[in-house]
């Protein structure tokens, strides 16, 4: 069961809700994050998100499937 805490706002609320599940999902694909350095994970995630935003024009994803 995921925890939706409306006392958190905006991105923090999403982060708290979905991040544990997202990490488990990444593990299932073999993205074995380094458990010895929890801080790195948070910092890298921010970097990845910023890269995702910048790379795709903030609001769009262009697909290469189909």
């Amino acid at each position: 069961m995921l925890t939706d805490d409306p006392q958190h706002d905006g991105f923090e609320r999403v982060f708290e809700l979905i991040m544990p599940l997202a990490i488990s999902a990444l593990w299932s694909l073999g993205v074995t994050l380094d458990p010895a350095n929890g801080d790195t994970l948070g910092r890298d995630f921010i970097v990845a998100m910023k890269r995702g935003s910048g790379q795709h024009g903030a609001t769009s994803l262009e697909h290469e499937n189909g």
Partner: protein
Amino acid sequence: MIGYRYNPFSKPLAEFLPDELNVLRDVSEGWFIDYKSEPLSPKDFGKHLSAFANQFGGWLFVGIKEGANKSLKAGSFPGIPASDVGAVLVKIREGVSAHVSPSFYFDHRIIDGPVDAIGLEAGRSIIVVAVPEGPNPPFVHSSGKIYRRIADSSEPKAEIDRAVLDAMWRKSDAIRTQLREFILKPTESRLTENTYCHVYLLEDLALSPHRYDLDIQGFKDAMQRDRTAGASMPLDNFHATQDGFIGRHLFNNNPLMDLVALRWWRNGNVRLTIPISPLYVSPERLHADERFRDFVSLMEEVTKLQCRILNLDQWLFAVFALTHRYLDLRDVLGSKEPIYAKVVFSNARSSTPFIAMDSYLKRRETVRYSSCSRYHNYVSSRVRAGFIRFAHRRSAARRIRAGL
């Protein structure tokens, strides 16, 4: 509202007005209702509440007396001392968690006096406990017995009828099978070579047909709210279905393709569909990002062959953006139900994942090549990442909000 077959207030637990407890004067104790004038022991709370969960769900009121002449309807509302409420809630939680296996979901609300309409005095409180029908019975009491609520009997019945017990197991199995089909159906219907991720965010495990009223404009508004920070991906292509709506991220993509999408059912369940772009390594497809280039070089060096790389940067971005939309929708609907989740990756076999996280990339330099070995990968919210030390989550989120 999940699994409440009967609701005396005809509105969610959090929304009825204290005065509306008055309707209970016309509601008899029965399959769905139980009045207690005094708190119970944790063991007895476990017994009475598990009896509801094993049957059709129900409502337990602490601090309400039955009427005279065995009317079984609410007669008076004396409440319990407000100072005792905290201790009683602890007993209720202990009753469900320590005296019932498996434990089940329940919700509660405190009505504090004074409420003149029902005669509840200041300093007194009524506790309302709502138990939805349990999705995976039987719920076994610590005494070893399985209790069921039977009509107006104030004592739950310890079930010993083999046929009834079998029916409980079948109910549990039927819901499990129904859920499995619901989750696997879109996965099995895809015949393409592409990789997909489906994220299920479920409020209603029983897959009831209709719970929320929402028109397509309300759905559109929730999907297109402005977002100034974090992941933002407005959905701009909408369809109505028989039982809900679909919003897709069309943008500049071919509408005939499978796109990032959010499917909403009127029972509150949601499926996020995220196609994951496979990137076949070739010079013209090399990403401009230095870390991706290094990753590709490493994979080439290790495999000596072309390898199929899944770009999980995009996936992570889409999961966060769509989850944000989903929470917007919950706010619009006023939903506070618990969320059960499942993630399914389809056709990820023989792919090697890429995500621009330093800790992962550093590790890959040591581990070298690895790829997914299974066609479908499943993760559910029961499998939490508890074994991963995920420190500073809150501070990380705050930094994102601050735009760092």
